[in-house]
Structures are given as structure tokens and as C-alpha cells.
């Protein structure tokens, strides 16, 4: 009796052990969300997230009073970074919601109805997709006066085409399925068919994609603010803080560092969740563990 080779076995028990990436991401994001929600109570100087200025402690290094140091007008950076979480999370959610609300119905229509509708919608999306998202967002953010809201709109405008394309593919294949045919023959209205049958069956890839996009949206928003076309002072958006600190970087390293780290870790959290969701919903992957 001999045993030949031992393959890698997927642990049978414990959601956490089988999906470490997802759990790690959720935990990290959970911490960030917690900080964002509790910022008004946790932050040492909530007023510093706004227009407060403290001329006597401008550009002070990290200390027990100000663990992240202070910025160019003396505001506590720990506070600003914490409040920045609220803004960043809000932007990500809003962009996903808007892009979804625009992109998904268009994709459903294009996929289900096909023909001219499909052609028109897809040409429009192709034009939007011809651009890297960042560049188009920059252009739009510039046209509308720079602000957090306008930046959110700008990013959403560049993001929806991806979802349209994704949903269209799924909807088109669902539309050919026999049970949809039977609905049609029974005289069910197209809107009902779309909402009750096509939508639920086409939506999974979009949700997975959204979880993977969250990180990208965050980075795009931070980049736009860094370039000055997004959030404006006194809004404590992370990208803006980094741009403010850029010129002081060689001597006052803390100004740029902590805000940047915040972006990095939040993006990591989003990306881990995106990875985890994809692993979870893709049955083929299980074997390769």
C-alpha cells in the first residue's frame, strides 16, 4: 500500500479560512468605515477638518498632541485624514451608484432589444471607452467648476460605459434563453421581463466588477484632487492634502505621508474585497486552491 502524492486541499470548514483575501479586505475596510463614521467623536480637533486655522502651530511635526503633524495652516492632520475617509468613501459609493443607474439600464436595453438600439448605445459607449477614465474625468471636472460633487459626476460619467458593455453581453445571452421566449409569447410586457428576469440574471458580473472598481475610483478621485481639479480647500480630501504637502515634502515629510498611506490602505482594502468577491463567485477557482 503506497500513497501517491498529496494534492492541495481546500479547507472544508471556516469561511474565513477558505476566503482569506475577502475577509482581510472586509476587516480592513470595516476599520476604515468605522473611523469614517466615528470621526466627529474620535478626531482630536474636528474643527480642523473645516476652515479652522492655527497660525502658531503651522507645519508642526508628529507629536502626542498631533500624531500626524499639522498642515500649512496649522490644522491637525490626523483629524483631516479621518474626515477624509468620510469623503473618499462617499465618493466611491456615489460614483458606483450613478454609474450603475446609468450604465445598467442602458446595457439591459442594448442587450435585450438588440438591433438599432444596440448599435446606437454601443457606439456611444465605444466613444466614451476610447478614453482612459482619468483623462476624460479631468476634462469634465475642468469644464464643471472643480468641486467634490462635480468630480464625482465627472468620474461617474466616464465609468458607466464599462457597466453598459458588461451588462449588454450578459443580457444578450440571457435574452436568447427559452424561458425569456416563453415570457414573450405569453405577452408579458418587456419592462417586466427586463426587471424580473433579465436583470437578476445579468447582474452578477456587474456586482463583481463594481467591487473591483472601488479601488480604481478611489485612486482616480485622489488623482483628480491632486491635480487641483477635484476637491478644494478646506475639504480634507486625501489627494488634495497630498498636493498641498508636495511642496513641503523634503522637510515636512509627514504632510504627504499619512494622507498617502490612507489612500494606499483604503485602496488595498477595496482591491482585496474585489479579489475576494471574484474568487467567491467563480466556482472554477476553488480547485486551484
Amino acid at each position: 500500500m503506497t500513497a501517491v502524492g498529496i494534492g492541495r486541499i481546500v479547507p472544508r470548514r471556516g469561511f474565513a479560512r477558505r476566503n482569506p483575501t475577502l475577509v482581510a479586505g472586509v476587516v480592513l475596510l470595516g476599520l476604515i468605515v468605522l473611523v469614517a463614521l466615528l470621526a466627529p467623536w474620535l478626531a482630536p480637533d474636528p474643527a480642523d477638518a473645516g476652515t479652522a486655522t492655527h497660525p502658531f502651530r503651522v507645519l508642526a511635526g508628529p507629536s502626542s498632541a498631533h500624531p500626524f503633524g499639522t498642515d500649512l495652516v496649522g490644522r491637525d492632520l490626523l483629524t483631516r485624514v479621518m474626515y477624509g475617509a468620510r469623503i473618499s468613501l462617499r465618493i466611491v459609493v456615489e460614483v458606483l451608484v450613478i454609474a450603475g443607474l446609468v450604465g445598467i439600464p442602458l446595457g439591459l436595453a442594448a442587450g435585450y432589444f438588440g438591433g438599432r438600439v444596440d448599435q446606437v448605445i454601443m457606439r456611444i459607449t465605444d466613444v466614451f471607452l476610447a478614453f482612459p477614465a482619468l483623462l476624460l474625468s479631468l476634462a469634465i471636472a475642468f469644464v464643471l467648476t472643480p468641486s467634490v460633487t462635480n468630480m464625482t459626476i465627472a468620474i461617474a460619467v466616464t465609468w458607466w460605459p464599462w457597466y453598459t458593455r458588461l451588462v449588454r453581453g450578459e443580457a444578450a445571452s440571457v435574452a436568447t434563453r427559452p424561458y425569456i421566449e416563453s415570457c414573450r409569447t405569453l405577452g408579458v410586457s418587456p419592462v417586466r421581463i427586463l426587471l424580473r428576469h433579465v436583470l437578476p440574471n445579468s447582474i452578477t458580473p456587474v456586482l463583481v466588477q463594481m467591487s473591483m472598481d472601488a479601488g480604481g475610483i478611489l485612486l482616480t478621485a485622489a488623482s483628480i484632487s491632486f491635480l487641483g481639479l477635484g476637491a478644494q480647500d478646506p475639504t480634507p480630501e486625501w489627494g488634495l492634502i497630498v498636493s498641498q504637502g508636495a511642496q513641503y515634502f523634503s522637510t515636512q515629510w509627514w504632510f504627504v505621508t499619512f494622507a498617502g498611506l490612507a489612500i494606499l490602505f483604503t485602496a488595498i482594502a477595496f482591491n482585496l474585497i474585489g479579489d475576494g468577491v471574484r474568487e467567491l463567485l467563480d466556482p472554477r477557482r476553488v480547485i486551484s486552491r
Partner: protein
């Protein structure tokens, strides 16, 4: 194959036209008066009127668009309000600089990302895999502008190993002047055998290219890993094993080529991200490319320049997608059928 390429080309042209129209309209919507930019803030009213006529701003928008499209086709991309030079010639100096940076960045990303992804797949579930995955996640989550600042601080200012900004040492303009053929210092220096400039431009490229490469490298590593693992699960790999091929042959030949298919597909996406990131990097490293040009043009409400930049980016992107499609069809014969 030819037909396939032709189809994609036609589609590309259509998309580019759509892009131009869209950007033109957006640019016209920008608040602010281009005539003021062109003529200067001290121009009198009549001078402004004259300028407006000169720039064709008094004609209806549709006519302006028509004129512009006609111009594009004949090589007249308008004159920049800001630099007063033809947009096309401005782009001719700015574009190569960006291409130099993006290419260097992408090459670096390929050199680093592909092998990492392969290692990750080969040893999946073990330590090398874990390490690569951690590094890749960091790579794709890193804010580019922040990474640029940090690298600049550490390597340029604190350690002094590499230069902080610019394309190459400006002193060399005098000591070792460079004749420009393709407007890319590295390439030109290589062609003309101008060693000092070559050395200088390469050392100036390293940091910005590294920053540009962060995201694509991480993405590529992940894609390659996923693709190879997926391919390894497919039936034909089982068949290859049943024929007696060992791990090295399976990995190196039978799984590798089919696995590259999705990777090639992702490359276009990667390039787009890299292009966008290049603009951010250009800002930090003072790189005279499209990004700086675009930023300046946006600030100056320089419509012809803005549209010109948009157009060139769209063209580059479309061309790249075309190349990727063709490359894909070459690697995977099944695609030619579609």
C-alpha cells in the same frame, strides 16, 4: 487575417471621429473666452472682436466643427491660443516625450510583472505566490502621485542616486548638444552615439518609469497568474499530462501560449492606465510630455490644443487596441474566425 484587421481599422476610425466631435463640443462649453487668452488680457474690445473673427469664433458651432474636421484631415490641427504655434507641431514635441516615458514604464512592467506572475502561478499556494500577491496588490493600490513623491524624496533628494526632474541634464545642451530625430532623447542619443546624453536621459527615465510601471506590473502579475491557473485547469492540459509531459513542458509550452491570450487583451487596458498615470508622473517629475501640455492648455482654455491632445490620445489608444487585437488573433487562431 487581412479582413479582420481591415474591419477593426474602419471601426477605429469611426470611434476617433466620434471622439473628436465630443471633445470639440465639450471644449466649446468651457466657460471663459479663448479670444482673451489669444489676444492677451490687455486687448481692447475691437482687438478682441478682430481676434474672434480671426479665430473663427463668430461662426456657428456646427460650421466651426466642420472647419475643424476638414482641417484635421488635411494636417491643419489649428493653432494653439497659448503657444501661438500650430498644435500639431506642439504635439510633435510633447507626444514623443510621453511615449518615451510610457514605453519605458511598460517595458519595465512587462519585465517585472510577467515573470512574477509566472512564478506566482508555478508555486501557487506556497510562499513565493503569497509574496508576489502581496506585492501586486500594493502595486495596483498605490496612488501614483504619492509614489512619485516618495521615490523622488528617497532616491533623488535623500540618497542622491538619481536625478529629480526633467528629461536629461540641461547642461548637456551646451556641452553635448543632441540632434533630434524622433524627439526622444534616449533614442536620439542612441542613434547619434551621444553617450553623455544617453546616460543622462536613461538615469532621468528610471524613477518616472518605475512609478509608471507600478500599476501595470501589479496588474500583469495578477492577470498572468489567474490566466495560467485557469489554463492549467483546462482539458487539454490533462491530455498533455496523459501523454507524458512533465511540469516544465506543461508550464513552459502547453499552458503558456493559451494563457497569454487574456494577458494580451489586458495590455490595452494597461496602456490606457499607464497613459493616464504618465500625466500624473509628468507633473511630479517635470517631464515635458503630453500631460504637462494638456494641463497648461486646460488652464489657458486653449481649445485647439485641448482638442488636439484629446485627438492624439484617442488615436494612440485606438491604434493600440488595433495592434492588440491583431496580436491576439496571431496568438490564438480561434479569434480570427469571429
Amino acid at each position: 487575417m487581412i479582413r479582420y484587421a481591415g474591419e477593426r481599422l474602419a471601426l477605429g476610425v469611426l470611434v476617433v471621429v466620434g471622439v473628436v466631435v465630443l471633445t470639440f463640443l465639450i471644449a466649446r462649453v468651457i466657460p471663459g473666452d479663448p479670444a482673451v487668452t489669444y489676444a492677451g488680457p490687455r486687448a481692447s474690445k475691437s482687438q478682441l472682436e478682430h481676434t474672434r473673427q480671426q479665430l473663427g469664433l463668430d461662426k456657428p458651432v456646427v460650421v466651426q466643427l466642420g472647419d475643424y474636421l476638414k482641417g484635421i484631415a488635411t494636417g491643419d490641427w489649428g493653432t494653439s491660443y497659448r503657444t501661438k504655434r500650430p498644435v500639431l507641431s506642439d504635439l510633435r514635441t510633447a507626444l514623443p516625450a510621453s511615449i518615451e516615458l510610457v514605453t519605458a514604464g511598460l517595458l519595465l512592467a512587462l519585465i517585472v510583472g510577467l515573470p512574477l506572475g509566472l512564478v506566482s502561478a508555478r508555486f501557487h499556494g506556497e510562499l513565493p505566490d503569497f509574496l508576489v500577491r502581496v506585492v501586486s496588490v500594493i502595486g495596483v493600490s498605490m496612488p501614483v502621485f504619492w509614489a512619485a513623491l516618495i521615490l523622488q524624496l528617497v532616491f533623488a533628494q535623500r540618497l542622491g542616486w538619481l536625478p529629480a526632474a526633467g528629461q536629461y541634464d540641461p547642461n548637456l545642451y551646451y556641452t553635448s548638444p543632441l540632434t533630434s530625430y524622433v524627439q526622444m532623447p534616449t533614442v536620439d542619443a542612441l542613434i547619434t552615439g551621444n553617450l553623455p546624453v544617453l546616460e543622462s536621459s536613461i538615469s532621468h527615465l528610471i524613477l518616472p518609469a518605475a512609478v509608471v510601471a507600478l500599476y501595470p506590473a501589479g496588474l500583469l502579475a495578477r492577470m498572468v497568474r489567474a490566466s495560467v491557473l485557469d489554463t492549467l485547469g483546462e482539458s487539454h492540459i490533462r491530455m498533455a499530462r496523459s501523454l507524458g509531459f512533465g511540469d516544465r513542458a506543461i508550464f513552459g509550452r502547453w499552458a503558456l501560449r493559451p494563457a497569454m491570450n487574456p494577458v494580451v487583451q489586458v495590455t490595452a487596458l494597461v496602456f490606457a492606465y499607464s497613459l493616464a498615470n504618465t500625466f500624473l508622473v509628468e507633473a511630479v517629475f517635470d517631464w515635458p510630455g503630453l500631460g504637462s501640455y494638456a494641463a497648461n492648455s486646460l488652464q489657458a482654455l486653449d481649445t485647439p490644443a485641448i482638442v488636439g491632445v484629446t485627438l492624439i490620445v484617442a488615436i494612440v489608444y485606438v491604434v493600440l487596441n488595433l495592434l492588440v487585437d491583431i496580436a491576439q488573433a496571431a496568438i490564438d487562431p480561434r479569434i480570427r474566425l469571429r
